[in-house]
Symmetry: C2
Amino acid sequence: MERIAWLNGAYQPLEQVRISPLDRGFLFADGVYEVTAVLDGRLVDSAAHLDRLKRSADALGLSLPLALGDVEAVERELVARNRLDQGTIYLQLTRGAGPDRDFWPDPSLAPTLFLYTQAKDLLGNPAATTGVEVVTARDLRWARRDIKSVALLAQVMAKQAAHDAHAFEAWLVEDGFVTEGASSSALIVTREGAIVTRPNGHAILPGCTCKAVLAIAERDGVAVQERLFTVGEALAAQEAILTSASNFVLPIVAIDGHPIGSGVPGPVAARLRALYIEAARG
Amino acid sequence: MERIAWLNGAYQPLEQVRISPLDRGFLFADGVYEVTAVLDGRLVDSAAHLDRLKRSADALGLSLPLALGDVEAVERELVARNRLDQGTIYLQLTRGAGPDRDFWPDPSLAPTLFLYTQAKDLLGNPAATTGVEVVTARDLRWARRDIKSVALLAQVMAKQAAHDAHAFEAWLVEDGFVTEGASSSALIVTREGAIVTRPNGHAILPGCTCKAVLAIAERDGVAVQERLFTVGEALAAQEAILTSASNFVLPIVAIDGHPIGSGVPGPVAARLRALYIEAARG
């Protein structure tokens, strides 16, 4: 089936969507993005993603050409036009294209807003039962990781390192502490059964899925500690877990080749994944 | 006159050049670039820019679709087709567009190579006689600034800060030391007449113009010290100077509103600019 995307007000076949190479998203990574899961044809955690989109745009002085409610309406329409049952919606907002390349972000430019959908079997993800492996990599990123910008080159390099090691994800490490995954939040479960994850701040992106999962965990009676943790603590943990919009909750069975816990998916990850999916479908 | 650009093998009007929003340059800032000056219709420091392009591409595992000599041939042809006497050539290489958004940099993708020209009166730049002001800003950038990547969002933010302060450029500061300008190299001239600039490494981009200017200075009998310098040293300097491909050599007359030296363009900057232009035209 031909995929329908949306660019600056027009629905059109994804294959035909084109932008100018003078778009500041292309020239300067001067843009932000969001990835929202779709389950049963419905948006998951949509309010959180729209809030974060607004927050990222505001941090850069980017203006959204649509009200958030209208963005969501476009997302729903894309789900309908693409008959999307499970998958993701990708949204990218940039400062737009000028007549020439100029570092200074001219506020009079018309922003570029692009959305498209991607089908993916989110519920049947085999990684949920097999677990995934991660490798650690030095966190090379800039100082404002709380902004979900498209300046993702350091993450691409980390994903390359993960791929080279036949791992699913890279956990980024700074001063001995895990910040987060290249495209996911990083959590561990201590021997005492508490979930530990880094507190929000400039060092990490505030994860929408992570936030929802932590709330679910607390309601389920699990202690949540938002604090820094080292690679050593992760290696000694009972479980390690990653969360992201497109992966929900996944158990991590090895870090840098060292098995975590008993080296098989653990019960906390499985329960949180089940509860998260239940809430998303409810 | 209609401007002619080059994209993936085809010369075409700049206004008509289009790329896919799935290009990894747009989605991930997964690309590198160069800006080369054109003077009297000839490329300035071309070998240095091509060397750096290759170095940046290699650092990211990006493959150039053309041999460097063929890249230069395209640049010369663009100069001819655009009848460019003075200005710049912009070149951007990205990892290309995949069928979908995927962090992992699939090596089978065909890279995107885009070049276009911009006319600018480089010799008659009024800033060469008036001097420019700079402001300092925290260096927010990532850990591999030696790669000339398009992940330039931190630089855009610094340029915004400079613009807000009615300054021409931002000097980026890390741990009290100046790294470099947002889009230029940073140099000072001490009270003893020595030029000081930060040594190359991961913390800064190796400047092609800066390298040429330092060689000219040494031949002219000026001492060059490649070492870190603080904002305080810059404020106390006899002169402050910026170099870049599109600005050659410019005198800085104030930093954060404080006059440098006597607050007017100094003789070292003027002489280095003259010698650089002489060499470029020679």
